[in-house]
């Protein structure tokens, strides 16, 4: 059981976590990589490091939306025998400041119950105190059953907005946003990239008209990236592959060093986000005159 279930002006814990901690840091790691025990330590470290929201990946064997880094993490987690039930027990066992989300593929949700239906998973998720669900292979068009179940159990179902999401589809998705809009900064799969800025601004500017929290992911690995993203007017920054890399690097060295490194990284990213937020405030308040030629 995790997250502070405070009644607030916001629709959900998730929205509150972003709005109240603006600019927010959202972190991701894969549960069970390299073991569920280690994941517990890592999540607590990310929480300590200043994560405002934590996504935990429940591993699925065919992670078609992930890049090589998270794919490898998922494989390690599966080889370690990670099961949905083990995952839920971990969540049950966690007590974090930041609300927790589960990120998994639709088949994992379907198979949790006895007959390819979504409710048993959602019920169990709600029971463990998870705040929301992100499903990379579930577009809005196929999401009704899961959304209804989530609504019934007070969970957010987070939708992804891609660079290709446009027109009516964009409107429809934005009108259904629950928790926050997961803004995919560029096409492709997850993975840390050196350069994040150009696409971010474009992605966000399309969403200017929608008054919902927007968090940007796909490619963030450093505090400076976080700053740039926030400067581009995001409400939050999502970091995954860069953290999974840390887990992988410390894989054999035991949980403690990895946890320390994760905590430090989270701190760096949160500082970057805050820096970006300040720049933005300054810029807005005090736009410098263009230099005279």
């Amino acid at each position: 059981m995790s997250g502070d279930s405070t009644a607030s002006e916001y629709d959900s814990d998730v929205e509150a976590a972003i709005r109240e901690n603006h600019p927010a840091l959202i972190t991701y790691i894969t549960a069970g990589d390299p073991s569920l025990e280690d994941t517990k330590a890592y999540v607590e470290a990310l929480d300590r490091g200043g994560s405002d929201l934590i996504e935990l990946g429940l591993p699925f064997s065919e992670p078609i939306a992930e890049g090589p880094t998270i794919q490898a993490a998922i494989n390690r987690a599966l080889e370690a025998g990670t099961t949905p039930e083990g995952f839920f027990e971990l969540i049950d066992d966690l007590d974090t400041e930041a609300p927790l989300l589960v990120m998994t593929y639709y088949n994992m949700i379907l198979q949790y119950g006895p007959s390819a239906a979504v409710r048993p998973f959602v019920e169990r998720a709600a029971e463990t105190g998870l705040s929301g669900i992100i499903v990379p292979d579930l577009p809005a068009e196929e999401a009704d059953p899961l959304r209804e179940a989530c609504d019934d159990h007070g969970l957010d179902l987070v939708f992804i907005v891609a660079p290709t999401t446009e027109g009516e589809r964009l409107e429809r998705i934005m009108s259904q946003v629950s928790g926050f809009a997961y803004v995919q900064a560029r096409l492709g799969t997850t993975g840390a990239r050196a350069d994040v800025s150009n696409a971010t601004h474009d992605s966000l500017s399309r969403l200017d008209d929608y008054d919902v929290p927007k968090a940007v992911g796909f490619g963030v690995s450093e505090g400076d990236h976080a700053a740039e993203i926030i400067e581009a007017d995001a409400d939050g920054v999502i970091v995954g592959s860069a953290l999974v890399d840390i887990v992988a690097e410390h894989g054999s060295a035991g949980a403690a060093p990895a946890a320390d490194a994760l905590e430090a990284k989270a701190r760096e990213l949160k500082r970057g986000a805050l820096r970006g937020g300040e720049t933005l405030t300054n810029d807005t308040e005090d736009t410098p005159e263009p230099e005279q030629p």
Binding site: L78, N107, L110, D137, P139, E141, P163, T164, L187, G188
Partner: protein, 423 residues
Amino acid sequence: ATFGDYGGQYVPEALMPAVQELEDAYERYVLNNEDGFMDEFRERMREFGGRPTPLQRADRLSERYDREIYLKREDLVHGGAHKLNNALGQVLLAKYMGKERIVAETGAGQHGTATAMAAAHLEMPCEIYMGRTDVNRQRPNVYRMRMNGAEVNSVEAGSGTLKEAINETMRDWATTVERTHYVIGSVVGPHPFPKLVRDFQAVIGRETREQIREQAGRLPDSVVACAGGGSNTMGAFHEFVPDCADPRFANESSGRSPRDEDVGLYAVEAGGSSLEIDAENAVAPNSATLSTGTNGVLHGAMTKLLQSEEGQIMESHSVSAGLDYAGVGPELSHLVDSGRVTPVSVDDEAALEGFHRLSRLEGIIPALESSHALGYLEEAHEDLGDLVVVNVSGRGDKDLETVLEETEKRDLEAAPDVEVFDG
């Protein structure tokens, strides 16, 4: 969902616009023949692809089974299998859609080679994803693709076979979706792929239906086709689906009504070494998805799957690489549930016997995939009626090494003595 409980579009958000764009293109070009798309497709399949393929009376099989056996000769399509029907259709569609590049996955290499051929023919840049294991064991197909100017990317993840290749192709597509079309290799994937691929492959059954009427004077009692993903299966079955007394299958779009002639449809899956699941290792020693699978979502569609209780997709197994897939086309799942298609399976050994039997008796070396249909014919011919069509979906040149290896391990009735193979 697209077909009863099955189908749908379970893809990352980034791909949804492309999938919807494809839906639109499917409707315009394929269903409504806009700009003469279907005319051009059919013309190119005639001139480039070698259609129509013959429906051949198999004299010696007919004698052996004491009934009329006809073979639909998809092994004679350019490239050696029915795969080109779909690959050419999709590459041409990509051209009509203004795409500048295609990607495709391939397992054994049959879909990859067909796609590379179609791409060369239509001057479309082409990249093929193929698992590292498959690259190593299907090198001639890698060469063929490269000869046709395609790039071949080997996928290092997982067991390095078809499943991983599909995952990786989806990732490429998700990155390049605006200018790229993903030529999916079977009647799987998100809507509209299962319909699109089926419609390109439906020429098999359409020709068969006309040919059998002309050659045998009536519709067959049964049509037998192997099923992996199910593209040759749906291709062979589609035109026959309404040929039954059950009004649920009257094809409204073509104005058909239930038929007097009842055509049995048999989808023969790869039974591998056993139909039992190896639960401990989450491995299925077969690819009998329709016969033993459970419902779930894989590669964009709700369908029957070989999966663990927790929802992890299992590694499937078959002596035939082209059937070795843990999913199956959603429409086949639907037709099986609704009783129109009968799912059956034969094991590796029966398929190998089928391979040797057709080679020796009819002078046709069938693909190991198609050999499953021939294995089922041997086992169950008495239940198939007096007039049977078997779809020979491809030729077996590609399988010679595998067959030799697998034959050496066994004592097969129909096989030549492979120990003294060079005379």
